[in-house]
């Protein structure tokens, strides 16, 4: 069994596993649903997530302990992760192979030569780590933007899976929608297609995780190298070299991804995985200069205050950034979110969406609720997002904490925002049309939306009485539509103040019922108003938790007449609407 064959099997295994984890990340008990599948395993193995959160939060969140295993194995063996485990790497490997397999050997060798641009990934790494590292100057976790594991998780969860699952709906109960997924797709596609230009483009030039492995793999006990100095320099070893590390001469250990292709391709047994350094020389350190390093650090440190000049963490916070229940306060949240998209994937109502630049640069691809999308706003009895977040940017809260039950009864339920009735668009407020859909759907008990009765004169509703008798009033005007007032919402207000319910109508008369009291028949010639009974919704901001069901159900389907915005969210004391009692 060749080692290269084993490696390919390993890549297949981990890629299939990754794909399976993406598919099953949906709430439910069946085999194809989440059950106990460790769907975050790849994210937990990712040392960039662990190191990033250590830098921003000064502690290692316990599920990320897996990263220590990856780091230790890398220290001992080298950059095995890139060629044996990383699902993104496997994808790049595959596409590169597809694109390059028919090329002549000489061209392949040329494509795999080491390029100075391979330094860029180290600058990317340092830049991101600097952004995370310095409290009070910098401290935001943006590694998730280019870290391959969140990158590929995001791309599959939010783009590929929704597309391919559409006909069968196996991975999700219904079609999924994700705002701004086009950008994720475009970047993903670009990364994939660039493999046709230079093999494993992303891995060689961009990947900060690969850079991290390159840096710590310097002391590897075993490394690829020449085991004899007599070599005819046919350069066959570089024909399929995946890392672009040039094993022929002065192999660059930090670029070697342990694909072992060189060892297999060498017809003379010159290349081996050995303890001694390559007899043709090796370079262990990444090819970055001190100057480059310093510039990256400086860039990273300055980038954060530059980004934050928009004030989005202060008074200029964006009200539409409604975070899932259990999310940490914003500044802390941004120190932990790796933008993996798991919360968006598992949310059963599809309400969690990847954030846009609108809330600031740091908002990109962080979870933001959009109540118009999906099946129902934030479902009351669900805490799935917190349970799946790999870094606890959304805390794994219990249902009791979310709903304010048991030991959290005094604390009350978690609010993610407050609903505001837009009285200019709401049907009973502005259009004179009855509607109480928001009140009906409010899931909390007692309801956070209540209505108040209001009678409004309808258009052309001022009438003059021609005659009245028994339960019928006839008007001078004869331009009603027969039956239009018979819905049970219409009333006649007669002079003297009595309001009678309209039961039926013809073009020029109405039949009324007055309930218990008899009708005080209006005199001929007196004025009558035909009114419509409206129930106008009010939001009780003490009870509203901002779940967004009302917004979702509002029949004014474009710009909703009741909209949730983040004021009143419990995770932030500054954004309170009410004075604390």
């Amino acid at each position: 069994m060749r080692i290269v064959t084993t490696r390919r099997m390993s890549q297949t295994f981990f890629f299939a596993l990754f794909l399976w984890f993406c598919i099953v990340a949906t709430v439910g008990e069946e085999f194809r649903q989440i059950r106990g599948w460790p769907v975050n395993w790849f994210l937990q193995l990712d040392p960039l997530a662990a190191i990033g959160t250590i830098l921003t939060e000064h502690s290692l969140y316990y599920p990320l302990l897996w990263a220590a295993a990856t780091l230790i194995l890398t220290i001992i063996f080298g950059r095995f992760f890139c060629s044996w485990v990383c699902p993104f790497g496997s994808l790049h490997n595959f596409v590169s192979w597809l694109g390059n397999r028919r090329k002549p050997t000489a061209q392949k060798i040329e494509l795999n030569k080491y390029r100075k641009a391979q330094r860029i990934k180290y600058f990317v790494l340092v830049f991101f780590l600097a952004m995370a590292a310095f409290p009070s100057i910098a401290a935001t976790l943006q590694t998730g933007l280019l870290d391959p594991i969140p990158f590929v998780t995001r791309s599959f969860n939010l783009v590929l899976l929704p597309i391919f699952d559409k006909p069968a709906n196996i991975a999700s109960a219904s079609d999924r929608f994700y705002e701004g997924a086009w950008l994720i797709f475009a970047i993903f596609l670009t990364a994939i297609l660039l493999n046709l230009v230079i093999p494993r483009f992303y891995c060689r030039f961009v990947c900060p995780l690969g850079a991290l492995f390159g840096v710590i793999g310097r002391f590897a006990v075993w490394r690829i190298g020449k085991n004899q100095s007599e070599c005819i320099n046919c350069r066959m070893c570089e024909k399929s070299c995946e890392g672009g590390c040039e094993p022929t001469q002065n192999i660059k250990i930090s670029e070697c991804v342990l694909c072992f292709n060189c060892r297999q391709d060498c017809k003379h047994g010159v290349i081996s995985y050995q303890m001694r350094p390559s007899l043709a020389g090796e370079v262990t350190d990444p090819d970055i200069s001190r100057r480059g390093f310093a510039l990256s650090v400086a860039g990273g440190i300055l980038a954060v205050p530059a980004i934050r000049l928009t004030g989005t963490l202060g008074d200029n916070w964006y009200h539409k950034v409604i975070r899932p229940p259990g999310a940490l306060p914003e500044e802390q949240f941004l120190k932990r979110c790796i933008k993996c998209g798991q919360c968006m994937r598992i949310c059963p109502t599809n309400v969690i969406q990847p954030g846009s630049f609108a809330g600031g640069l740091e908002n990109l691809w962080t979870p933001v609720l959009n109540n118009r999308i999906g099946s129902s706003g934030c479902q009351l009895n669900c805490v799935a997002c917190g349970q799946i977040c790999p870094t606890a940017a959304i805390r794994p809260i219990t249902l009791a904490e979310k709903l304010g039950r048991d030991e959290f009864e005094k604390a009350g339920p978690i609010k993610i925002g407050t609903a505001f009735v837009d009285r200019n668009r709401c049907l009973p407020w502005a259009m004179g049309k009855p509607c109480i859909v928001c009140e009906e759907n409010c899931p909390v008990s007692p309801k956070a939306i209540y209505t108040q009765e209001y009678f409004d004169i309808i258009r052309d509703g001022a009438m003059i009485v021609e005659s009245a008798g028994a339960s019928r009033i006839t008007f001078v005007e004869k331009d009603l539509l027969p039956g239009e007032l018979a819905t049970g919402d219409y009333y006649c207000l007669i002079e003297g103040g009595q309001r009678l319910k309209v039961v039926a109508n013809t073009e020029g008369s109405v039949e009324v019922s007055s309930g218990d009291k008899p009708m005080k028949e209006p005199a001929a010639g007196s004025r009558i108003e035909i009114q419509i009974r409206l129930q106008r919704p009010y939001v009780d901001i003490e009870k509203c938790i901002g779940c967004g069901v009302c917004e979702h159900e509002c029949p004014v389907s474009g710009k909703k007449a009741i909209r949730v915005s983040a004021e009143g969210e419990t995770r932030s004391s500054k954004r309170r609407l009410l004075l604390d009692s």
Binding site: Y62, L65, P277, Q332, A392, A411
Partner: protein, 331 residues
Amino acid sequence: MNNPEQRQSGRREFLARTAKAGLAVAAVGAASYLLYDPAVPTPAEDAGRLVTLPDFSVPAVPAKAMSIVTGAERTRTVDKAIELLGGIERFVKPGETVAIKPNVAFASPPALGATTNPDLVGEVVRLCYKAGARKVIIADNPINDAASCFALSGVDAAARRTGAQVLLPTDSMFKYTTLEGGKLIRNWQVFFEPFIKADKLIGIAPVKDHQRAGASMTIKNWYGLLGGRRNIFHQDINTIIAELSMMVRPTLVILDGTEVMVTNGPTGGSVSDLKRANTMIASCDQVAADAYGCTLLGLKPSDLPYLAKAQQAGSGKIDYESLKPKLTAIS
């Protein structure tokens, strides 16, 4: 091909590299261990996520609310005192987790009596395990550096000797609480972690003179649970102590009057600050315990305004006689 020199330098290089790799592995291991956080992050501004300390008290048994045992040896007097209240089995059931809050406020040696005596703590831990407790946690949020306080006061050694776990406070172990009916404890950080896991709570405090409060005994002992800049409460010390009695409802309090700090409290500093009173008090009513304990300092309950406030808040009775405390002497 390979001459001995090359081989040797190769070997040296290999060894150096392997050593570095080993160090790197060790560094990763050490970093993981030191930074490991088994808890879920606490929201930095915890407004709204208020918690309430659970009520740890056990059902009252008439005439078994308080016991006073005189004797010279702490371990024996505390055994007797608890026995008189029905035995440790009344308070600790098998499989339970017990949190013990001693006074470990200072990095002060046991001989100076500023902290709870470690032998006493050890004995109570032993009793808890005897009753079948699954785990005993010892926790306090000291004024000085926590690790040194636990070490120098001897409580840490006592814990290790008896199998209890010392919980040193870290930021993530604090939560915000508001005391219902409280004026001062509002949205205040409290050392909450020991309580999440605990089924029972035992407070153990020495009798000490206190410059500000008059005396520091079982109720003042809970001051150690407050976080943040708690010294601000010294401005209204009697109210805060009364509120502590409302906030914390322990299973049992043990007041150690074996060697009482009669002057220069609460830190003392000299053995001459201590006077032997050879008294151990165990009580389900912390107000009553303090009311009796202050007599060991030569005070009357009326000398301690916080007692009246606590009684008014319903935390207990000053008139300890009404509880019919059991008195015994051990030779």
